[in-house]
Amino acid sequence: MALDRKIAYIDLTTGEVEVKPIPLDVRRKFLGGRGLDAYLLLNHSKKGCDPLGSANPLIVSGGILTATCASATARTHIMAKSPLTGLLGSANMGGFFAPEMAWAGFHHLVIKGKAKKPVYLFIKNGTIEIRDAQNVWGKTTTDTQWAIQEDLNDREIKSLVIGPAGENLVAFANVMTGIKNAGGRTGMGAVMGSKNLKAIACRGTMDIKIAHPVEALEYNKRFIDQITSAKVNKTQGTLGTPMIWGATNSWGGVRTRNFQYNQCEYADDIEPEAIDEICEDTMGPYHMAGCFGCQVHCRAQYRIPSGPLKGKYDEGPEYTSQGAFGGEPDTPRAETVLVGNHLVDQYGMDNLEVGSLISWAMELYEKGIITSKDTDGLDLRFGNDEALLEMVERICYRKGKVADALAQGGIPASKIFGKNSFEYLIQVKGMSNLHSDERATPGLALNIATASRGSDHLRSRPAIDLYHLPEKVLHKIYGSPVPYKGKLSSEHTEYVGKAWQVFWQENCYMGVDCLGICKYHTTFLGATLPNFEDWPKVLYYNTGLEYTPEELWDISERCNMIERLFNIREGLTRDDLEKGDMLNHRYFDEPCRRGAPDVVGMMIDKKKFVKMIDEFYEHKGLDKDGNPKPETLKRLGIENEPSHML
């Protein structure tokens, strides 16, 4: 039974391991995955704890549906206080790790303390062993996974690992599983590194009983058809997320030269069709790979076609790497994107943060705020492919003044660089933005300003806003399971109704993160994909738990509020440019210069934007300062947090 999967508390300082069941009343309130992780983080951390200190708990989980008959329940979630933002740290990745952990008996791990020397955890069928990792310390992410399989003489082992960046406490080091599945954001790899924890390896052969197996399989056919028939997923299964690049760049939604332009001109070389042409066997229906239980298969594979790393294998690149190593630094060349993607995968660093911060440094270099003296002679100008890739390595190994500053994250680096460097930093809550440009999309701008883990597109983005859907269709989507009587607009350049859409998406994404399902299987990039009305069926048939769509909405809202409580405890205030729900001034002051004729000249209207935040807070039950009202906490049943139920 999925519900008999356990939670393990592991103390790396003492070596003690305690295993507990997850009570049903906790499941009822928080389901699992990210939602339950947020509850655990709030309950097991103390205000102001050092993100890289031994008291910061690192929490790893699968969702409540992980490894059941449900489709695409591959997601692994990892959470802790972030060394990048000082607020909520949270990252989510595909692959095969979480299902293996569930088969090994566990849904959640709470890892505390710090090992005296490098170790890794080996979890197998209900047992947890702390093993020496000195022979893998220093290795890249892929080599680490292979070395652990050899060490344990089992090729079926799935590992969650850090690379050299995590060991070097780079504030945006990620955790990886497989070749490229990355828990990329907020520096969870640095938290692992700070604990001397190189990896978590899993092997499981314990059955998961399905509550209603016949119905679960039957319904899953329908669920899969709903997912695979979506046009967006047919495109994903052919080109992967790079399919987004050409479309977004064509209307002017791609940040270029840090934030100077909103379109990377003549970037044809990094369009997916071009990458497919220069790399053999990379995209198309016969070459795309997939995660556990997924039928979409959005992961391209490639070998670097030329240059010093010619022949090296990797997966992707994702849309994010096209921006990080193509658009933002204005180096739109396929080889640069493919090499940059490969380097961050091997070093274990967040591609978004790396690309954004280097592009920011390039703008500072252009403006003379940092000079070649600071870069040890490196010509850090926009468009310099070699300098870009050199900086990736320097950041990982913290070589030189500029790279070492960037490795600490944007806000600490701005304090080192001084002058007006902070004004050019495109971040929210200390985390860099995706390479997208939201000046023409107020709904998306609200999303990145208010997302719980910092500037982020995967927490509340109303991405279908870009499709110009008829208002009737929008009301059908956004009017359920909770009725919405307000106005909604088909125009993505408008402000009307966007606060509700962001609120709805925030709950939708929390829902899939609790279930353990991929976001490509919900209302993220496609309007016809499953959401609250579909999930009760898949939950009931697989786990036996009965929920209404409204109850699942309530759970999502509750879990999001727990994340908000954590952030407020750690210093979030509404207008704080470092820790608040506010955008860089450039969104309000600098108009878009490129893109579609309707997009040029656009920027965010600050008055309307502030009003949108007011509306968003109202939908969430927050006061004007962004703090939860007492009646909201009571309605959500979390007025006594931390409640220490688990």
Binding site: S250, W251, H492, D598
Partner: protein
């Protein structure tokens, strides 16, 4: 028991609105429906005159690969100039 799997969910019911063979212009307030002929590599919006390069996922499933730079760039520059003059 709240589970009723006979009825279509809201998301499922929207499947009937799906169309193949066409896409929308990327200019936000234009968003005209463009329908390239099978195999076409370019398409021009009859409303706002923007031009796009077209790629094909399947013979009946086109997508916008990117803009025709030399055309759309000129349109954008003219639009930007006009808007800035008006400020």
């Amino acid at each position: 028991m709240a589970i009723d799997d006979k009825q279509l969910s809201g998301a499922e019911s929207l499947r009937k609105t799906r169309t193949y063979g066409k896409f929308r212009c990327h200019n936000p307030t234009c968003m005209g429906r463009l329908e390239p002929k099978p195999g076409d590599k370019h398409v021009k919006c009859p409303v706002c005159t923007c031009e796009f390069r077209v790629a094909w996922i399947r013979p009946d499933f086109p997508r916008i690969r990117g803009p025709v730079w030399e055309v759309n760039k000129k349109i954008a520059e003219a639009a930007f100039k006009k808007k800035m003059e008006g400020k």
